[in-house]
């Protein structure tokens, strides 16, 4: 049966889209059929990591939510675009359902809202129509309708936090919500960990604080920043410490 994995953080800019793109690409590389949906309707971004730009985006999640197309029509096979086409050579395939980057489309969703039931049906339709093994949901930071829905339907939730006091507080809120919604598997990922923390000590401290397992401690990396979300880091630099942490997440998700 297909698994739904949501990637969330209470605050913005923690690395949700980067982690989602990397983990999902690694699953495709292993031969799984993977879907990635950008539910960050108000500030979409993950399409950039998959090399999809506005002109190539004929249809988006927005079109589905307005009843203009079936959700699978807004799915793009991006396997040939990432990591110099490496994924397509080895694998099952990776499909991206982007959110529109057009100002008018974003404004319309903000102004008019949308049919939440349609979004929920869309997740299941994607799994069925594309024959997915995994559906990854990239989310908007904070708690709103889409994020609560995605948490409620997830088999596995990854909450990302940085070593920042604001993240620490917000994460407590999200962990609490995930517990209430009885998500079967909950993992924390520490991203942009500064080098003055010893990774194991940090992991231990975070696990104690939230009573939840830490799947990875990803260092703050100039190399990641330098790639500027223009490709999938772990495909480009498989031996980099950041990529090794991504592999820890992949192993835990696969075992769940």
């Amino acid at each position: 049966m297909a698994k739904i994995i949501s990637i969330h953080s209470f605050r913005g800019g923690t690395g949700k889209s980067n982690v989602t793109a990397n983990v999902s690409a690694q699953f495709a590389r292993k031969g799984y059929r993977v879907g990635v949906i950008d539910t960050d309707i108000q500030s979409p971004g993950i399409h950039v990591l998959f090399g999809l730009d506005e002109e190539q985006m004929d249809k988006a999640l927005n079109d589905y939510l307005w009843g203009r197309c079936a959700i699978e029509e807004a799915a793009y096979d991006v396997s040939a675009r990432v990591g110099k086409g490496e994924v397509v050579l080895m694998s099952g395939g990776i499909y991206l359902i982007p959110s529109s980057i057009r100002a008018g489309e974003i404004a319309r969703v903000l102004r008019e809202g949308y049919d939440v039931g349609l979004l929920n049906d869309g997740f299941r339709a994607l799994i069925e129509k594309l024959g997915l093994d995994y559906l990854f949901i990239d989310t908007h930071p904070g708690l709103n309708e889409e994020t609560l829905l995605s948490i409620a339907i997830s088999d596995l939730l990854i909450i990302i936090l940085r070593t920042d006091q604001q993240d620490f507080q917000g994460t407590a809120v999200t962990v609490d919500v995930a517990r209430k919604l009885e998500v079967p598997h909950l993992y924390l990922v520490i991203n942009k960990a500064i080098s003055s923390y010893e990774p194991e000590a940090l992991r231990h401290q975070i696990e104690e604080t939230y009573k939840a397992p830490v799947a990875a401690v990803i260092p703050l990396s100039e190399d990641v920043a330098a790639l500027q979300s223009s490709d999938i880091f772990s495909l480009c630099y498989p031996d980099h410490p950041v990529s090794q942490e991504i592999q820890h997440i992949v192993a835990l998700v696969e075992a769940a």
């Binding site: 903000l110 102004r111 809202g113 049919d115 939440v116 039931g117 889409e146 409620a152 209430k180 009885e182």
Partner: protein, 124 residues
Amino acid sequence: MGIFDRIQSEIETREKQEGFSPADLLALSPPLRRLMSYIIREGEVTAAAAAELVQVSPTNAQQLLDGLVHKGYLEREEREEGWVYRTRFARKRGREIPAGIWSALGRRTRPAPHDRDEGPSRDA
């Protein structure tokens, strides 16, 4: 009180509403939340499936589901196999963008005396 009576009375005390929002899950008791989450995840359920989840008889499960239909949380449809229940989601509401926002932004760069009488949001 058994599980059926507990969920039943919780449903009775809840306000009728125009559809269910994912945020409503947080306000429910664990057993009712589990039931609503299950229906959201599955897309649609029969009374038999709900009965198994909640551990009540199919007749009691149907009563609970019908109670949720009455409150506007679910909708039901008759099929060959019997009644099938789905979440009736509330539409995500659009945001009121404060009426004066564009002119307020404009005011930072140049005076715009004409938007004086634009409405209450301005001096709020």
